[in-house]
Amino acid sequence: MQYFTSFWWACLCLWAVACQPKSTSENKAQTDEANTKPTQTIKDSSQSKTDDAPKPMSKVEGYYTGVFEPTNFDSENDVYHANKITISIDSLDKTQQWLYGHSIVAGNKRPFKGTYQLTDSGYVAKVKEPGDNRYDGQFRFTIKPDQQSLSGTWEAFRKDFSATATRYVLKRKTFKYEPSLGLPPGVEWAALYNHALMMGHTRKGERLSGDVVKLNASAKALKKEEVANLYRGDLEVIRNAIYARHGYSFKNRKMRFVFDHIDWYMPISIDVRNELTDLEKKNIDLLKRYENHAARYYDVFGR
């Protein structure tokens, strides 16, 4: 009997740990699934065609992608991160010297317009976002067509959030959906992702492992057996890599930590649902089943 009771005591201790509340689970709900809920709609009708690919003949129009780096930053309260941004120059009105475009960063797509001047150093522009979004602001940049670059600064209209000023040096890039693109080896050590993990932004079992680079869910149909033994963190990144290949800009910060550092990744859209191939949709369904299962059951009493 002595032996028996001590066994149950051990079980009770295990359970005390089991019953601790999971504070981070709510976090998850708000950061995940960004792709299914586009929160922005562009109201300005003159900008409604911004989704069209820019004309390839132009010297200036096109996508410029790179790092949007905060220059003032509340380092006490936030994890440092520089998001990847795409600035799209959609059209120039040469008679009025107006410039139209939009920016895409962190799942936020905003139109802008303003004036420009052609100088010796390039096209010097000062453009504004509409101002009806909390994170709207003003860009000042110079486009150098011969160097295929766009560089400058941005300043938010409002100052009530972290990182209200940034700088950037962006490279001109064309976007092409390429299903064979994989994650680079070593992505599992994405420094900021692990940092976020330590800060409690992620749950146990969400760590990335070397498996994350092994499966490409855009290129081949995944089998149950291939995904059943993967950690939730890996499954999530394998699934989100599908969206990344289509140029999806992640609201989910954890995903930005991973994909922003990948060379081929350029955020160009905030809703890629219509772009997904049938193969990808199937794989997404399979991956989500195992992700949800892991999220719900991996570390609880059950199966």
Binding site: N229, R289, H293, D299, R303
Partner: protein, 212 residues
């Protein structure tokens, strides 16, 4: 106050309390499948098999009936209750035997054939179901022959395997807590750990009882 201390000192109180707590957790797991739905909880990752009628029948029979085994079985081992209410012991025993032999063990065998985790886990769960059936059957035969000692031993073994429903999940919880292994690796481990150690423990206890 003295009364309360006595209760708290009694290991039976703690074992019973703990057992009821785990029964409650098992009930929670069972309730996930009410109302009937073939695309919830565990079945979300068994979609390859939920199309088979025999799999569905086995799964829901197992889920809906197995709670009864845990509830009917536990009080049967108290000598005092047996003496006080012999009819209750008989009736609960009949319930236990019928549920195991007709519902829980056969359905468990079907589920074992389709178990997650590959051949190792499949073998483990099938063996569990077969042994559970066998032990329960022997216990039934023994009581029909009025062989009380044999009946008690076979029932101990049978119930040790029935408890694997709880110990398997506890092992899973403990392993994930301590080592965070891959999901299917955990599953392969607990498929064996869940019942083999119970069986070893009860065999040791039987040997110990024989000697003393």
């Amino acid at each position: 106050m003295r009364q309360l201390t006595l209760i708290l000192r009694n290991p039976v109180f703690w074992v019973l309390g703990l057992y009821l707590f785990f029964c409650y957790l098992m009930l929670q797991i069972t309730l996930q499948y009410i109302p009937y739905d073939t695309d919830v909880a565990f079945l979300r990752i068994k979609q390859d098999y939920t199309g088979y009628a025999h799999y569905r029948i086995a799964f829901f029979v197992h889920v809906y009936t197995s709670m009864l085994v845990l509830l009917a079985g536990f009080t049967q081992f108290s000598a005092r209750l047996r003496k006080k209410w012999p009819t209750a012991h008989k009736n609960l025993g009949r319930l236990y035997i019928v549920v195991v032999l007709v519902f829980s063990a056969p359905s468990g065998l079907v589920l074992g054939v389709y178990a997650n985790g590959g051949w190792s886990a499949q073998v483990a769960f099938c063996l569990l179901a077969l042994m559970w059936f066998y032990f329960t059957l022997r216990a039934m035969q023994a009581i029909r022959q009025q062989n009380y000692t044999a009946h008690q031993r076979w029932m101990w073994r049978s119930f040790a395997l029935a408890l694997s429903a709880i110990t398997l999940r506890l092992w899973k919880y403990g392993l994930v807590w301590a080592f965070q292994p891959r999901p299917m690796d955990v599953y392969r481990w607990v498929a064996w750990l869940g019942w083999t150690l119970n069986l070893i423990a009860i065999e040791l206890y039987i040997i110990y009882r024989k000697q003393s």
